[in-house]
Symmetry: C2
Subunit: 422 residues, 2 copies
C-alpha cells in the first residue's frame, strides 16, 4: 500500500418503509429513490425494509447503469428486507439470521415473520478489503414496557459477534442500518464497546441535516406523530458506523440526513430519514498497538456494559421459562377438559356443545404445545447469547486484573487472530 494512499467512499443508507399494501405511496417513493440514487451516484447504497422482492428487482433495473452490483438478502418467511447496490464489484457476500426475533403469535407486529438478519458484503477497493454490513433489528413498539428488549440485546450481541468473527482480515469495517436502538440504549453501547465502531454522527467534521441527527422526525408526514410525542426533535435509530484496522485511518468528512422531506423538498422518501456519509480512508503508519492505550479504568465500560447485558438476558431467560411453564399448565388444563368432555360425550350429555368444546380443547393443547416449544427455543437462544457474553466478560475481567502491563491480552481479545510472533 502506497504511503499516500487515500480512498473516498460515499455511502447512502435508508430504511425504505416498503411494506406491500400498507406503506403509503410505495411505488412513487421507490421511483423517486431510484432517480435520486442514480443522480447522486454513491459508492454504496444500503437499504432496509425493501420487503418486496419486486421492489428490489425494479430498483436493480433502474440502477443498473450506475450501480452494476446488487444483492438482495433472502431470509425468513417474508425476507430480511435488506439489499445493497454498489458501484464496485461485490467480491463475496453472506448473511446471519438472528436467532431471536420476536414471537410468531404477535402477528400484528410481524417481526418474527420477516427473518431479521445482518448481511455482509466484501469489497476489494484499490487493494483495501472493505467489509460492509447492513442490518435491521427488531422494532420497538413500547419503550415503557418493551417485551422485545432481551431479543434486541441478543440481536445486538449477535451482530457484534458476527462482525467480530467475520472481519478479522478486513482493513475497513462499515456498518449501516436501522438498529431500532437509541444512542444510549444498552444494545447500542454493547455493539460499540465490543466492536470498537465509531458513530459517524458523533465523529463527522461537517454535519447537515435534522436536529441531533435524528432519523425519525416529526416533520416527516409518514411518521406516527403520537409515537414521537415523548421526543420533540425525533429519535436517532439509523446509523453509519465504521472503523479501520492498524495501518489505516478512517474519518467521516461529511454526514447529511434528509429532514422529513425528499432531498429536493418533495414528500419524503420514507418514514425514516436517509443518511449520506462521505468517508475517507487513509494510510497511516502501523502502530505497535493499534487499540487505544486503555488503562483499567478506561476498559471498564466494556466490562460494565457486558455485565448489564448479562442481567438483561437473565431476565429474558426467566421470562421465557415462565412462559414455557405457563404453557405446560395450560396443556394440562386442556387435557383435563378433554378427559371430562370425553366422559360427558360417552354418557350422552349435551353432545353438540361437548363436541365443540372437545375440538377446541384439542386446538388449545396443540396451540399451547407450539407456544411451549417456542419459548423453550427462546430460552435456549438467550442462554446461548448469555454464555458467549459471560465468556467475553470473564476474559475482559482477567485482562483487567492482570493490569496495564498485560494490555496485549485485551488487545488479543478484541483482535483475536493476530499472530503472536515468537
Amino acid at each position: 500500500m502506497k504511503p499516500n494512499f487515500s480512498l473516498r467512499l460515499r455511502v447512502f443508507n435508508l430504511n425504505c418503509w416498503g411494506i406491500p399494501y400498507l406503506s403509503k405511496h410505495r411505488a412513487d417513493r421507490m421511483k423517486r429513490l431510484g432517480n435520486f440514487l442514480n443522480m447522486e451516484s454513491f459508492d454504496l447504497v444500503l437499504l432496509e425494509e425493501v420487503w418486496s422482492e419486486q421492489d428490489f428487482q425494479y430498483l436493480r433495473q433502474k440502477l443498473l447503469p450506475t450501480y452494476p452490483a446488487a444483492h438482495y438478502f433472502r431470509s425468513g418467511i417474508i425476507g430480511s428486507g435488506l439489499c445493497v447496490f454498489s458501484k464496485h464489484p461485490i467480491q463475496e457476500f453472506t448473511q446471519h439470521v438472528y436467532t431471536l426475533n420476536g414471537y410468531p403469535y404477535m402477528v400484528h407486529h410481524g417481526d418474527w415473520f420477516s427473518g431479521k438478519a445482518v448481511g455482509l458484503l466484501v469489497f476489494h477497493l484499490s487493494g483495501l478489503v472493505l467489509n460492509a454490513y447492513v442490518t435491521h433489528l427488531h422494532a420497538e413498539y413500547n419503550r415503557q414496557k418493551d417485551i422485545y428488549l432481551a431479543h434486541r440485546v441478543a440481536q445486538a450481541w449477535e451482530l457484534a459477534h458476527f462482525i467480530h468473527h467475520t472481519s478479522k482480515k478486513a482493513d475497513v469495517i462499515l456498518l449501516c442500518g436501522d438498529l431500532n436502538l437509541h444512542p444510549k440504549d444498552l444494545g447500542f453501547r454493547l455493539l460499540k464497546e465490543w466492536t470498537g465502531l465509531h458513530d459517524a454522527y458523533l465523529e463527522t467534521q461537517d454535519f447537515k441535516g435534522s436536529e441531533e441527527g435524528c432519523t425519525m422526525v416529526p416533520e416527516n408526514c409518514y411518521v406516527n406523530q403520537q409515537e414521537l410525542e415523548p421526543f420533540p426533535c425525533g429519535i436517532r435509530i439509523d446509523y453509519v458506523l465504521y472503523k479501520a484496522v492498524s495501518g489505516f485511518c478512517i474519518s467521516c468528512k461529511t454526514l447529511k440526513t434528509t429532514t422529513g422531506h425528499d432531498p429536493h423538498s418533495g414528500t419524503p422518501l420514507s418514514d425514516h430519514e436517509a443518511l449520506m456519509a462521505t468517508l475517507c480512508v487513509r494510510h497511516s503508519p502501523p502502530q505497535h498497538n493499534p487499540s487505544p492505550t486503555h488503562g483499567p479504568a478506561e476498559r471498564s465500560p466494556l466490562i460494565s456494559v457486558l455485565r448489564e447485558a448479562c442481567t438483561e438476558l437473565d431476565l429474558g431467560v426467566a421470562q421465557a421459562r415462565w412462559w414455557a411453564s405457563f404453557a405446560t399448565y395450560m396443556i394440562g388444563l386442556g387435557l383435563l377438559i378433554l378427559a371430562v368432555l370425553s366422559a360427558l360425550v360417552a354418557e350422552g350429555g349435551i353432545r353438540e356443545v361437548a363436541i365443540l368444546l372437545w375440538t377446541l380443547s384439542v386446538g388449545l393443547v396443540l396451540g399451547v404445545g407450539a407456544v411451549y416449544l417456542f419459548h423453550l427455543q427462546e430460552a435456549k437462544g438467550l442462554c446461548r447469547a448469555r454464555a458467549e457474553l459471560q465468556h467475553v466478560l470473564g476474559r475482559a475481567r482477567e485482562a483487567q486484573n492482570l493490569g496495564p502491563e498485560f494490555e496485549p491480552a485485551l488487545f488479543l481479545l478484541h483482535q483475536e487472530g493476530d499472530k503472536t510472533e515468537d
Copy 2:
C-alpha cells in the same frame, strides 16, 4: 514463530448417540466415555449427539481435571447436541445454526427440533491460532429417495461458507463431526472443494481401525443391521478434516477408529465409531502463492461441484414451491368445506357432524397455513444458498477464463482478505 516450531495435537471425535430414553445403555456409555477420555488425555474432544445437557454436565464434572475448558452449544428446541472438552483454554466461541434442517411435521425424524449447527472454537496454541469447528448435519433416512438431500447440500454449503468467512486469520483449521455424508456425496465434495480441507483418513501416515475407515460398522451391536445391508463393511460419515495456511504445514501422523467395540473391547461407546487423530503442525517457509498452482483443468472440480450443487438446490426450490402451492390449494379446500358446513349448520342439518367437521376444517386451514409458511421459508433459504453458490461459481468461471496468468484471482477467491500489496 521459530523456524523449528512444531505442535502435536491429539484430537478425539465421536457421535455419542445420547438420546434420552431412546439410546441404549446411555448412562453406562457416558461413564465409560468419561473414563476413557480421562485416561487418554487428548488435546481436544469434540462430541456430537449429546442431546441431554445433563450428560454434558456429567462429563464436564468428570473431565474437569484433565480438560479444564468445555462448552456446550445450545440451539433449537432440543439443542445442537454439540459439545467440546479441551486441555487448552478456549479463547472464543460462536456458532451458526443451519437455515434449513428438515421438516417440523416429520416428528419421527426429529432433526428439525434439534437445531443442527456448526460450533466454532478459537484456540491460541504457542502463538498459533487454531479454529476448531464441530458439526452434525441432517441425517439420511433413505438413500434411494432422500427427501432431505437439498437441505443437506445447503447445510454443507453453509458450513463451508461459515468456515470460509470466520477462518481468515486462522493458521490452522480443524473440522470434526458427523456430516451424514459419504466421501463421494455432493455435499462432502462441495465442502472439500470450497474450503480446501484435507481428509485425515486419506492423508494419514498410519491408520488403524475399521475397514475403509468406516464410522458405522455392522460389528457394532447398536447399529441397525438392516440399514447397513447395502454396505457390507459399513459407511464412513464421521470425519476429521484439516488444513493449514501459508507459513505452516499440517499432517496426520496417526488415525485410529474404534471397531464396533469399546476401545478396551467391551460394548461400544456409541452406534458410531470414534475417531482419534494425532496431527502435527510445523512451520514451513512462506510461499509466494500457498494455493497449489492449479491450471484451469485442475480448477474445474470446484466449478463442476458448484454447478452440481446449484442443480440440486434448483430441484429443492421447485419442490418447496410445489408444496407451498399444494398447501394453498388445501387452504382453499378447507375454506370451501367451512363455507358449505356453515350453510348446513345455519339450515339446521345434521348439527353434530357439521360442528365436528367445521372445527376440523378450521384445524386444516390453520395447520396447512403453517405448512405453507414453512415451505415459503424453505424456498427462501434454498434461494439464498443458491445465490451464494452462483456468485462463487461466477467468480470461479471468471478466474478460469482469465487463464493461468490470472491465478491470483482464484487465490483471492479462496483466501479473500489477503491484502494486495501495492
